[in-house]
């Protein structure tokens, strides 16, 4: 059985299997891959590579997607709660 490693996903610590790929991680998180961009240690990955890139101890993964936006949030609005998509 593969050992457990610690990685960081969107700024949060997370355990995952030592033999997991980026694709495995996204499936575990129930994230649809057709709408996300993934950065692995600041390198943007091609979608086709998600299943070929394995994770290792200390990796930093960022998973991003489109949210509602048109203008940046005005500083004066920062106290207000805007509903954001993910």
């Amino acid at each position: 059985m593969a050992e457990t490693i610690q990685i960081q996903v969107n700024g949060e610590q997370r355990n995952c299997r030592g033999d997991a790929t980026v694709g495995d991680l996204l499936r575990e998180l129930a994230i649809k891959i057709d709408r996300v961009a993934v950065e692995l240690n600041l390198e943007i990955l091609d979608r086709e590579d998600f299943d070929h890139r394995s994770l290792k101890q200390g990796d930093r993964v960022e998973v991003l997607s489109f949210i509602g936006g048109g203008a940046p949030v005005d500083v004066r609005d920062r106290g207000r709660v805007f509903v954001h998509a993910e």
């Binding site: 961009a37 489109f66 936006g69 993910e86």
Partner: protein, 257 residues
């Protein structure tokens, strides 16, 4: 009016009103307002996926990318590196090379850092992006952006979200006369007459978010903006009469008693 498409970098758009998708109450309201506006281009931002709560819906469940052109932006980026990084992420997450490039210079005004904008645009254009830059109402900068390969420029009417309307119609007019690519007036519009004025000046399109999303009734304002942009475009194409200080009678004198 006959078909009057807007063409940018070989892409044809039917609507001259483009809208942002931020600041709405929820996705249902976002979708209703966009439908009411008739816009076929919608801007979106790129942010971290919420990995702890997967129950939240996705914006693209509501906005069919086949129906709308999804125009990602680099909103919130205050330097060249961040803007370039977000643009690359947007391309990786999406389906096209289109990017609304924002490099902001200051938090209070959200005015563009035009030097940074030009630098980021150069990098992205080299990488094959179609860069639509959010810029100041500065004709010289607008021309520089065109010179480096931007297929359209997006000068502001007033600070983002300010609702101040067209603050410098003369600069915008000079940009429209000087720059031989489509001009999309972006940011600062407050109400329908602002959008109509932008189009009457000769803008090719208007992009707005807060004016609709922040209105008491966003759906009604979206519809008002649709007609304002349409009316302004028609008036521009019709060619307005010159302004004169004194009256000119409309009825003939001949035949009077």
């Amino acid at each position: 009016m006959q078909s009057d498409p807007l063409i940018i970098a070989g892409r044809e758009f039917t609507s001259r009103l483009w809208v942002g998708t931020g600041k709405y109450k929820d996705f249902a309201e976002t979708k209703k307002a966009i439908d009411a506006s008739g816009a076929d281009v919608v801007t979106v931002a790129v942010r971290r996926v919420n990995i702890t709560d997967r129950s939240k819906e996705n914006l693209l469940d509501y906005l069919d990318p086949k129906k709308y052109t999804i125009l990602p932006n680099t909103a919130g980026c205050y330097n060249v590196e961040d803007a370039v990084r977000y643009a690359r992420l947007a391309r990786a997450a999406g389906v096209s090379d289109l990017i609304k490039l924002e490099v902001l210079g200051d938090e209070r005004t959200l005015f563009p850092d035009t030097a940074g904008l030009i630098e980021a645009a150069k990098t992205l254009i080299k990488e094959g992006f179609i860069v639509l830059p959010y810029t100041n109402d500065d004709p010289i900068v607008a021309q520089k952006l065109v010179d480096i390969g931007c297929p359209a420029v997006m000068p502001l009417a007033a600070p983002i979200g300010s609702g101040l309307g067209i603050r410098n119609p003369y600069n915008l007019k000079i940009i429209m006369e000087m720059v031989k690519v489509p001009i999309i007036v972006d940011a600062g519009v407050g109400t329908a007459s602002d959008a109509a004025l932008a189009m009457e000046l000769g803008a090719d399109a208007v992009l707005m978010n807060t004016a609709i999303a922040g209105a008491q009734d966003p759906m009604a304002m979206a519809e008002a903006m649709k007609y304002a942009v349409f009316a302004g475009r028609l008036a521009y194409k019709a060619g307005r009469i010159p302004r004169k200080l004194y009256a000119t009678a409309s009825s003939p004198i001949e035949g009077m008693l």
